[in-house]
Amino acid sequence: MRSRIMKKLTFVLLAFAAWLATGTAFATVRVVSTIPDFADIAKSVGGDKVDASSLVRPTQDPHYVDAKPSYVLDLNQADVLLLAGMELEAGWLPSLMTGARNGKIQRGASGYLDCSTLIPPMQVRAPNRSEGDIHPGGNPHYWTDPRNGIRIARGIAKKLAEVDPGNASAYEAGAQAFVAMLETRMAEWRKLLDPVKGRKVVVYHESWVYFLDWAGIVQAGTLEPKPGIPPRADHVAQLIQQTQGQGVRYIIQESFYPTQLSTLFAQKAGAELKVLPTMTGAGGTRHYADVIDVIVREIAK
């Protein structure tokens, strides 16, 4: 009887010790990213030295994510947090970070990396919401531009080296390999894009400005009258008029926006609707570069 109690007590103490030990020693660096793309890049950079996962599903609008407590568990165990920043996750991430009770990933701590600090921002605007749900720090949809992919990979490698200095050279090598791979792909994509330089597209939400800038494609209009404000018939009618005769080839949007108005716009403006992935895992993509590959090939068609 007594020995059973002792056994139980020992077990409880051991479990408690194991709990204490978690977080102090890790075989792999646990990376949690908000969007799947940074997690994929981190996997490429860190290889088997990191264990990377993401919170947002690739088919989900990253602006509006439920702050599920299960995400708190992921963040609680994280050594590094990667986020898109520029207020993309402002509606849900802060409460999760507080709930995570993890000092390593708080803003200002060593495991916190806001990837928007790695890239040159576009559309930095005066914070005036009468212009819609704008992000004063800049447009946060920057990762579909492969130039930014390179910057993000280097930044992640640097962060991983800070958190896990023992493997710094491996992370540097991982970043170099990733950059070399992306450069090769960029040369391929450039060949596809050069013949269609200056082609005009209309977008649903302004999620494409960085990509279009790199690709040399022109954004001729947006279906949303202002960022975050759902399109209305009168605005779309105006847009059809405005873009008349401009040769708009495609209307592009993510899968989480409704397609009825876009389809109608495409018909009336003589364009074609393309529902394209913007995050790794959407539309059958497996890796970061696949997403760009799909967008390039579809837009260059």
Binding site: M86, G91, P120, Q123, G198
Partner: protein
């Protein structure tokens, strides 16, 4: 024409030139790499233009990303370009040795390396105004307090200033000031880095019990407080000064245990006042909750909680002065987020129930039970609608003396609401309720509510 939209569009097309400032990455054959001796670069009109102009201004909507538009004094332009080239060299020199800086096939990215974005050292502030118009069919009716409108006519339900910020990697601070009634609703610090998954809150805060009590008006799916919650915790909800300790258990699913010590008066609880001597440990309010969360699937989530609040009765006398409440809640949400789903369609259900005993003067003990159940349908980005049923019953046979009325009458109320949200920051809500309460005639209530939220985007809790 729409000049605002055009200017946004124009900005979209011209700001790309900022990218040039940071230097084009390899693979962009179009941009030459500066020679290593630091001499002036070949012309880069786009970057010179961007540095000379505020980024929000845009000359014309038809500009393509690479084209420059306004002609400039060529001498000034050359000067600016030389300066930009020199700056870039300095940055590159500083970054030499950084990752990828040594290989000729991958020249150094001038890293922006901003540690701070925008106005980050200032707290995020939001100002939220809730204006309503109310109509009641009966003058003789139960009166609610707090944010709930209590007379026919226009009412300012709330004008709240919400402030929050990370203090450092160890603390966050949050405060909500109700400007309309000059009341500090909440002001507390939360730890973020304690070991063993512990967390402490200190200050004045809404007790973490049930689903409704921890929330503010702008988070509610209806424009009024459920009657049972008002009977239990008062019209303002239980928001008292105190300290709270919570722990996240190290198990594979989400289990959080929260316990607090708070002092003051809220609904059926009251800490002994100064006049009757220094309070002892028995005199404080002790809210506690055990909450579990199950991520059933990408589209399904379930939260269940057990709650209790122990404290001193606000209607008691010395020697017989306990109020004890025990409750349970459930929150179930279905929200598809797969391919083709907008994420704005959802159905969520909340059920919260309580049993309470309350000692009163004369040695009696009131026993009551009640709760609410609500279901909300998210229709699309702009519309949602919901229904709620509320119920409260006296379980003893002590009758309803006048002093009991604020703490519970046999009551049944059904509410329906529909909301239109023109953007993420504004909402118009129409609500109808039918109220059946003992001692009062049946009451019909109509409400029209307008809510606007300016400033920082607050983070939602689950």
């Amino acid at each position: 024409m729409r000049p605002t939209m055009l200017s946004v569009l124009a900005a979209a097309l011209t700001i790309p030139s900022l990218a040039a400032l940071a230097g084009e990455p390899p693979g962009q054959a179009a941009t030459p790499v500066a020679p290593p001796d630091g001499s002036a670069q070949p012309a880069q009109p786009a970057s010179a233009e961007a540095s000379a102009k505020p980024p929000t201004e845009a000359p014309s909507p038809s500009t393509t990303p690479s084209a420059s538009t306004t002609p400039m004094d060529p001498a000034l332009l050359a000067q600016l370009q030389a300066a930009a080239g020199a700056d870039e060299q300095t940055v590159k020199a500083q970054n030499a040795g950084a990752l990828g800086g040594t290989q000729p096939s991958a020249p150094t990215q001038p890293e922006l390396g901003k540690g701070v974005v925008g106005n980050e050292t200032n707290p995020a502030m939001a100002f939220i105004v809730d204006a309503a118009g109310a109509w009641f069919s009966q003058d003789h009716r139960i009166h609610q307090e707090g944010h709930t409108p209590h007379q026919t006519g226009p009412v300012l339900q709330s004008a709240e200033l919400a402030i929050q910020a990370p203090v450092d990697p160890f603390f966050r601070v949050f405060a909500a000031v109700e400007v309309a009634h000059m009341e500090l609703e909440e002001a507390y610090a939360t730890t973020t880095s304690l070991p063993l998954n512990l967390q402490v809150r200190a200050g004045k805060f809404l007790s973490m019990v049930g689903r409704h009590n921890p929330t503010h008006l702008h988070q509610w799916k209806f424009a009024t407080t459920p009657l049972p919650n008002e009977f239990l915790f008062g019209g303002e909800g239980m928001a008292l000064p105190g300290g709270e300790l919570s722990v996240l258990l190290p198990v594979p699913w989400y289990v959080e245990i929260v316990g607090a010590v708070q002092a003051g008066e809220a609904g059926s609880y009251r800490t002994r006042t100064e006049g009757s001597g220094e309070p002892t440990y028995r005199d404080f309010v002790y809210p506690a909750r055990l909450v579990q969360f199950f991520d059933l699937a990408d589209d399904w989530a379930l939260q269940v909680g057990l709650n209790t609040v122990q404290g001193r009765s606000s209607a008691g006398e010395r020697g017989a002065d306990r109020t004890q409440a025990y409750g349970a809640h459930l929150f179930l949400k279905w929200r598809p987020i797969g391919q083709g789903a907008t994420g704005y369609t959802y159905i969520s259900t909340t059920v919260e129930g309580w049993y309470r005993t309350m000692d009163v003067a004369g040695g009696d003990r009131w026993k009551d039970a009640g709760g609410y159940a609500e279901i909300t349908f998210g229709i699309d980005k702009e519309w949602d609608t919901g229904i709620r049923g509320e119920l409260w019953r006296r379980l003893d046979d002590l009758g309803v003396p006048e002093e009991r009325q604020p703490f519970g009458l046999d009551a049944t109320r059904g509410t329906a609401q529909i909301s239109f949200m023109p953007s993420h920051f504004s909402r118009i809500r129409a609500q109808y309720a039918f109220e059946k309460t003992e001692l009062f005639p049946d009451n019909h209530i109509g409400l029209l509510q307008l809510e606007v939220a300016a400033g920082a985007h607050g983070a939602h809790t689950y």
